[in-house]
């Protein structure tokens, strides 16, 4: 009973601290004379686009009924034209190409388009990084000096240099050499970087599987590939899933650095919106929230997978 009381107290304290931090940020923004403008933010995500509807032929507007503008052409033909918002009244004389009105439809704003690019480049990169990581991870535990040394050099080089520098090298050097697009170069640079970390995760996972598993499989006459494919990797994958998910989350966040090679992902989109609206606070908070939604979803998905896979162990 007493314990419960304390838990409630600390939960209240937690809420108070959060409110306090929010209040502090608000006060701080007042002191620097920042005028908040949250109302504009939704339009950076989704906005109503207007499509101009032009007159297909010269004529006279006869009227407007059931969302259709009735146009009588010079040749006495009656045309029904779908226009949601007509700007001309009955009796107006139009030439071919004159605006009759406009239709609206919802369109993804720059931030949502950027988010889409972030997700796309991250997905492509995750697939590549997994393949790179799997092979270099296997090479790292190989007894063949060629494979072992190659993977060690790769992992050490990648882990010892900044991602930003690697992005520049891949984009300007390798990208130019093989005439890669921004997107491919960016995804590849990220994959090369995260692949080194994934290789280490996979190496640790494989080495954590007891030797007896390999021996049992060997004794049954299975070859190296079969043992890896059917015995070791399925078990190792389950063990490294949390670490892998963490690395994927890192990758998604690191993709923000691709803005430096002008890939219009979420961060670059945010910068562009800030440049045109002068609302840096709202935009960056929104950008942060969008990243968080993606990474947190991944984190939840990982937890779901872990729970599902836990069934057989």
């Amino acid at each position: 009973m007493r314990r419960k009381k304390h838990t409630l107290l600390w939960n209240i304290a937690f809420v108070l601290v959060i409110i306090g931090i929010g209040f502090f940020i608000y006060k701080a923004s007042l002191r620097i004379n920042y005028s908040w403008n949250w109302r504009a933010v939704p339009s950076y995500l989704v906005y109503k686009a207007e499509d101009e509807i032009d007159a297909p032929a010269p004529g006279i507007v006869e009227g407007y009924k059931d969302g259709e503008l009735i146009l009588k052409t010079e040749k006495n033909k009656i045309l029904h034209i779908k226009v949601e918002h007509p700007i001309l009244k009955k009796g107006a004389v139009v030439n071919e190409g004159d605006e009759l009105g406009y239709n609206t439809h919802y369109k993804a704003g720059p931030l949502l388009v950027g988010l889409y690019m972030t997700i796309k480049v991250s997905l492509v990169s995750i697939v590549m990084a997994l393949i790179i990581g799997l092979f270099t991870g296997l090479m790292r535990i190989s007894e063949n000096p060629l494979f072992k040394n190659l993977s060690t050099v790769y992992i050490e080089l990648v882990r010892g240099t900044p991602l930003l520098v690697q992005i520049f090298i891949v984009y300007f050097f390798i990208g130019t050499l093989f005439s890669m697009t921004r997107f491919i170069a960016g995804a590849f640079a990220l994959a090369v970087f995260e692949g080194a970390y994934i290789a280490e995760i996979i190496r640790a996972g494989i080495q954590s599987i007891p030797r007896g598993q390999t021996e049992a499989a060997l004794a049954l006459g299975m070859n190296y590939f079969q043992i890896m494919r059917y015995i070791i990797i399925p078990q190792a994958f389950k063990r490294v899933l949390p670490a892998l998910a963490g690395q994927f989350i890192s990758l998604i966040k690191d993709s923000s650095l691709l803005s430096i090679i002008s890939l219009t992902e979420l961060t670059k989109a945010g910068r562009e919106v800030v440049a045109s609206t002068f609302s840096p606070f709202e935009v960056w908070f929104t950008v942060a929230a969008l990243y968080f939604i993606v990474t947190y979803s991944l984190s939840l998905f990982d937890r779901y997978l872990e729970r599902r896979l836990a069934g057989d162990e």
């Binding site: 049992a216 060997l218 004794a219 049954l220 006459g221 059917y230 015995i231 057989d312």
Partner: protein
């Protein structure tokens, strides 16, 4: 190797030193006839498990030769996967595959190595799971099984490959006492059926009852070899006498 045609395993002067300098095997020579049940006994560290593992080359040798079914398994050019498929092995710690169900454990190598169709592999798997008395657990994962049940799965997994030789490496040592009898019964049954068996064990009752020949090893050497009667009732060497006095 006088009548090599009859000998399914021929080990000649096998020696092995571990990287830490321990001499595990010194000049071990042993012939096993087709259908024979050879039980290797000896204290821990006597090299009996190491020797058993050289037969299917889970352990390499430094010198000497081991010929299984006429194939020199110590020759680096030998395709081991092929010969290993003919040698079933049961481990002390079962080594069942935890990510596969009981049925999948017994089917996997049949499909991958023996290239059997799925239906055939399942039929054979069920046949051996029934034989070891665990058919009702076919859809369970190994975590939900007791040690004795896991070992039954491991035995079925080995038998389903239709091996010509079965190796048992202290198959009952990691089991709770009440589980030991059941596994030994299965092993005795197999011995009666005429499959060639090499068994490393501390179960002297099993050795006495099921062995055609008992090999006593100490310090990496075969010290004495003979029928159960010779070994248990007429030990010749002092070392074997001492060993028997300690364990019986």
């Amino acid at each position: 190797m006088s009548d090599s045609s009859e000998n399914i395993i021929v080990a000649e002067n096998v020696s092995k030193t571990f990287p830490n300098g321990v001499k595990a095997l010194r000049d071990v020579s042993l012939d096993v006839k087709k259908g024979e049940v050879v039980v290797i006994i000896g204290a821990s560290g006597s090299g009996k498990t190491t020797f058993l593992r050289t037969i299917n080359q889970l352990e390499t040798v430094d010198s000497g030769k081991i010929i299984v079914e006429g194939v020199d398994v110590t020759d680096p050019k030998t395709n081991l996967t092929k010969i290993r498929a003919d040698i079933g092995m049961v481990f002390q710690h079962f080594n069942v595959f935890p990510h596969l169900t009981v049925l999948e454990n017994v089917m996997l190598a049949q499909i991958l190595v023996r290239k059997r169709k799925k239906e055939e592999a399942e039929r054979i798997a069920m046949e051996f799971l029934t034989k070891v008395g665990i058919a009702d657990k076919k859809d369970e994962y190994p975590t939900n099984l007791s040690g004795g049940q896991k070992q039954r799965v491991a035995i079925a997994r080995a038998l389903a490959m239709h091996p010509k030789i079965m190796l048992f490496d202290e198959a009952t040592s990691a089991l709770d006492p009440e589980m030991v009898g059941g596994i030994l019964d299965i092993m005795k049954q197999l011995a009666k059926e005429g499959i060639t068996m090499v068994v490393v064990t501390h179960e002297m009752g099993f050795a006495r009852e099921a062995a055609d020949r008992i090999v006593y090893m100490d310090s990496g050497k075969i010290v004495e070899m003979g029928t159960p009667d010779e070994i248990f009732n007429n030990p010749k060497t002092d070392r074997l006498k001492q060993f028997l006095s300690q364990i019986l």
